[in-house]
C-alpha cells in the first residue's frame, strides 16, 4: 500500500517556483530517499506532504485518503532545522511533544523513558536541553519523532552532526522500524547512506523530479562503465583507447570507460603485461549518478 502519494504538486513563492508538478509514492515497509542539491525543493515538498503549507495545485494522499490533518498524528517529522526548547527539561519536552501527537501524558512518559534507555541517553532525561551536547539533542529530537509510533516517518538529514557510533545506532533503529512495516522518507546529501539504506529514491532538482524509481532499477539505467583493477606490473593498459579517464594508485587503478567501449578489450590488453588480481566492472555509485544528473542540468 502507498502511504504517501504526491500527485503533480506545485508550489510557487512570489516568483520562485519551489516545486513544479512533482509526483512520488512511498510504500509501507520501505525506505525512500528524497535527494537533491540545496534549494532543489526537498523541504518544500516535505512541508506540503504534511500540511505545513498547502500546494498551489496537485493533490496529496496520506494513508490512502486525501490529506487530512487528523492523520498527522500518524506522521513523525524530524526537520532538518532542529528545534527544541532550550530551557525545558528533556523529559518534559518529550512528554509535551508526545502529547501534541495525541498521546496521553503517562504513555508519553513511559515511552520516552524506554526510548532514552534504548538510545543510551537515560542519564540526560532530567537535564535541561541546553545542557546537552549537539549529538544528544539530536537523539532527543529523533526520539520525539518516534514516540507516537508513526506509520510514516520523515527524517531530514537525521545523521548530521552524529559520530559514527551513534549514526550506526540510529541507522539500525530506522532499519528495524522499516522492517516493522513503517514507511520512511529519508532526505540527505550523503549518497553513501542512501545507497545503503534506501529501497527507492527520487532525485529532485529545480522543483522537478529528475530521476526516480527503485534503487536497483535506477542504477541499472546507467551503463556499467566503471572498472576497478588490482594488478602487479606494467600499467600501460591505462592508455588503451577504451579508457576515457583514470585514477592510478599503487597497484590499483580506477577507470572510466568511453561510451560504447568494451571492458573485455581492456581486460585483454591489461593481462598482456601485468598480473591481474582483480578486475571488476562496477555500476556507477549513486553519488556519480547524482553529480552526473544534477551537473548536466546545471550546465544546460
Amino acid at each position: 500500500m502507498n502511504i504517501v502519494e504526491l500527485n503533480q504538486i506545485s508550489k510557487t513563492y512570489d516568483t520562485k517556483v519551489a516545486v513544479d508538478a512533482l509526483s512520488l509514492q512511498i510504500e509501507a515497509g520501505k525506505m525512500f530517499g528524497l535527494l537533491g542539491p540545496n534549494g532543489a525543493g526537498k523541504t518544500s515538498t516535505i512541508r506540503m506532504m504534511i500540511g505545513i503549507t498547502l500546494p498551489d495545485s496537485g493533490s496529496v494522499t496520506l494513508f490512502g485518503q486525501p490529506f487530512s490533518r487528523k492523520n498527522l498524528t500518524r506522521v513523525g517529522y524530524l526537520p532538518e532545522e532542529r528545534g527544541l526548547y532550550k530551557k525545558m527539561k528533556v523529559i518534559d519536552q518529550l512528554v509535551f511533544l508526545g502529547q501534541l501527537h495525541g498521546l496521553d501524558a503517562a504513555t508519553a512518559n513511559s515511552r520516552s523513558r524506554q526510548w532514552c534507555e534504548r538510545l543510551q541517553i537515560l542519564d540526560a532525561i532530567d537535564l535541561k536541553t541546553e545542557e546537552l551536547s549537539k549529538g544528544m539533542q539530536q537523539k532527543i529530537q529523533f526520539i520525539s519523532t518516534l514516540l507516537h509510533e508513526p506509520a510514516l516517518i520523515i527524517m531530514d538529514e537525521p545523521f548530521s552532526g552524529l559520530d559514527p557510533v551513534n549514526t550506526q545506532l540510529l541507522q539500525e533503529t530506522l532499519l528495524e522500524l522499516k522492517n516493522a512495516g513503517k514507511a520512511i522518507l529519508f532526505s540527505t546529501h550523503r549518497m553513501d547512506q542512501v545507497e545503503r539504506l534506501c529501497d527507492s529514491i527520487c532525485l529532485v532538482d529545480g522543483g522537478k523530479a529528475v530521476l526516480s524509481g527503485g534503487m536497483r532499477e535506477v542504477k541499472s539505467r546507467y551503463p556499467r562503465n566503471h572498472v576497478v583493477i588490482d594488478f602487479e606490473g606494467d600499467n600501460s593498459f591505462v592508455n588503451h583507447p577504451a579508457v576515457k579517464e583514470y585514477k592510478a594508485f599503487a597497484g590499483h587503478v580506477e577507470i572510466q570507460l568511453r561510451e560504447g567501449a568494451d571492458a573485455q578489450d581492456l581486460l585483454h590488453a591489461a593481462f598482456q603485461n601485468a598480473k591481474i588480481y582483480k578486475f571488476e566492472l562496477m555500476e556507477p555509485s549513486l553519488e556519480e549518478i547524482f553529480i552526473q544528473t544534477v551537473g548536466r542540468r546545471a550546465n544546460a
Partner: protein
C-alpha cells in the same frame, strides 16, 4: 483546541516555573515601592531649615510670626504643600526689637552654621506690610519660603484683628482653615471622595494597566522569536495548526500574567488588612476611589488590551528572525497607551469632553483612557458597552491578521519582510 491547550499549558508552566517569573514577581512591586518612596523621601528632604531666628524691630509681629511658624499644620496646609514636616523639627528664636545695624552678628551666625537662617521683618512706619527678608546659606528654599510667607501673612492678620479689639481666641477661630470636603456623584449618590486619593487611584490603575499590557505583550513577542530562532516551530507545525500555536501562546502568557497580578493583588489586600496597611491605606482601595465595578473593568480591559496587543506582537514577532529586532516594533505597542498616560491630567479634568470620549472608544487607547475616565466620572453605560464591543471587534481583527502573518512569518528566515510582502502573506494558504 487540544493542541492550543497543550501549548498554553506548556507556556504557562514553563513561565511560572522560571526564575525570571519569580524575580519579576518580587522585584517589580519593589521597584514601584521604591519610586513612590523616593517621591515621599524627596518631599521630606525639602522641609527647609530647622533652626532659624526671627528678627524684627516689632516684637509683637516677631512673636506672632514665630507662633504661626510653629503651629501644627492642618490637612489643608498639607494638601497645599505649604507646611510640610513636623513642626517640632523647627526651632524658632525671636530677637526683637533689633535695628538693621544689628544684623551683622546674625549674618555671622548663619555663616558659622550656628543657625540655618534668619527672617528679618522690618516694619516701616506708615506701611501696613513689613519688609521681609530671609537670609540663609542656601540660595533658595522654596518650601521654607512658602511656609514663612504664610506665617507672616497670618501673623499680620492676627495683629490687625487684635488691634481692632478681636479676642485672641476669636482670631484663632477666624484664622482656622476651612476644611473643604469633596464629594463625587457615583451611581446617583454623592459619596465621599478625596480628590488627591482619587487621582492616585486612577494613576496607579492606569499605570498597572499600561505596564502589564506592554510587559506581557512583549513577552509574547520574545517567546515567538525564541521559538523561531530555536526552530521549534517546524516540529510543532508538523502536528499543530499555526492558529492553535498562537492561541495557546496568548492564553499561556496571559494566564501567567494574571497569576502574577493575582499574587500582587493578594499581597496588597494582605498588606491593607495589616496594621501597616491600615495606616497607609486608611480604608484600602475604596479610599482611593476604586470601586468594585472599576476593578471588574480593570480586569476586563486588561484582558482585552492584553489580547489586542499580544496578538499584534505575535504577528510582529513572527516577522523577525532575531531577538534584537523585537525592540524595533516595541514603540508601536507603547505609543497609543502612552498617549493616554501623557494626557492623563486633561482626561481626568475633562472626562466627558468629546475628544476624550472619542479617544476612549479608539480600541488601542480604550483600556487606559476608559480606566482614567471611570475614576473621574460615571461613564454612561452605552459608552462602556460600545468600547467593549469595539475592542472585541478590533481584537478579533488583529488576531485574524496576526495569525496569517504568523503562519507565513514563522517559517521565513533572513530578510525582514516589507509591508507589501506582509500584506501579500494575508492571502497565502
Amino acid at each position: 483546541m487540544r493542541e492550543a491547550l497543550l501549548v498554553a499549558k506548556r507556556e504557562y508552566v514553563e513561565r511560572v516555573r522560571s526564575k525570571a517569573f519569580r524575580i519579576s514577581t518580587i522585584v517589580i512591586p519593589l521597584a514601584f515601592a521604591a519610586v513612590i518612596g523616593m517621591g515621599a523621601f524627596s518631599g521630606k528632604m525639602a522641609t527647609g531649615p530647622s533652626n532659624i531666628v526671627v528678627a524684627s524691630n516689632d516684637l509683637v509681629l516677631a512673636q506672632s510670626t514665630r507662633t504661626e511658624l510653629l503651629r501644627v499644620p492642618t490637612a489643608k496646609d498639607d494638601a497645599r504643600g505649604s507646611r510640610r514636616g513636623p513642626p517640632q523639627q523647627l526651632q524658632v528664636e525671636v530677637q526683637a526689637p533689633v535695628a538693621e545695624s544689628d544684623l551683622a552678628s546674625l549674618n555671622h551666625q548663619v555663616e558659622s552654621k550656628a543657625i540655618d537662617g534668619y527672617l528679618w521683618l522690618n516694619v516701616q512706619p506708615g506701611q501696613a506690610v513689613p519688609q521681609a527678608t530671609y537670609v540663609s546659606r542656601g540660595s533658595a528654599d522654596f518650601f521654607g519660603a512658602d511656609r514663612m510667607q504664610t506665617a507672616i501673612g497670618e501673623a499680620l492678620v492676627r495683629e490687625a484683628l487684635m488691634n481692632h479689639g478681636v479676642a485672641s481666641s476669636q482670631a484663632d477661630g477666624l484664622l482656622h482653615d476651612v476644611d473643604l470636603k469633596t464629594r463625587q456623584v457615583k451611581g446617583g449618590e454623592a459619596v465621599a471622595s478625596d480628590a488627591s486619593k482619587s487621582f492616585w487611584g486612577a494613576y496607579i490603575m492606569a499605570f498597572i494597566l499600561y505596564f502589564s499590557v506592554v510587559f506581557y505583550g512583549m513577552n509574547v513577542a520574545h517567546s515567538v522569536v525564541a521559538e523561531k530562532t530555536s526552530r521549534v516551530f517546524e516540529v510543532l507545525l508538523a502536528t499543530a495548526k499555526p492558529e492553535s500555536l498562537m492561541a495557546g501562546k496568548l492564553l499561556g502568557v496571559g494566564a501567567a500574567g494574571l497569576t502574577q497580578m493575582a499574587v500582587w493583588i493578594t499581597a496588597v489586600l494582605l498588606l491593607s488588612a495589616s496594621a501597616l496597611g491600615a495606616e497607609l491605606g486608611q480604608g484600602g482601595l475604596a479610599a482611593y476611589g476604586v470601586t468594585p465595578i472599576q476593578l471588574v473593568f480593570l480586569v476586563l480591559y486588561f484582558l482585552l488590551g492584553f489580547f489586542f496587543y499580544s496578538a499584534l506582537s505575535a504577528g510582529f514577532g513572527a516577522t523577525v528572525s532575531q531577538e534584537s529586532e523585537v525592540q524595533q516594533f516595541s514603540m508601536i505597542l507603547v505609543m497609543p497607551q502612552l498617549v493616554g498616560l501623557i494626557l492623563m491630567v486633561y482626561i481626568l479634568g475633562n472626562p466627558s469632553a468629546w475628544p476624550v470620549v472619542l479617544l476612549s472608544l479608539f480600541p488601542p487607547c480604550t483600556p487606559i483612557v476608559m480606566c482614567l475616565r471611570m475614576s473621574a466620572m460615571v461613564v454612561p453605560w452605552w459608552q462602556l458597552a460600545l468600547s467593549v464591543v469595539l475592542m472585541v471587534a478590533a481584537t478579533y481583527a488583529v488576531l485574524w491578521v496576526a495569525s496569517r502573518i504568523y503562519r507565513v512569518g514563522i517559517l521565513m528566515y533572513g530578510k525582514r519582510p516589507t509591508l507589501p510582502e506582509m500584506i501579500r502573506w494575508l492571502s497565502y494558504s
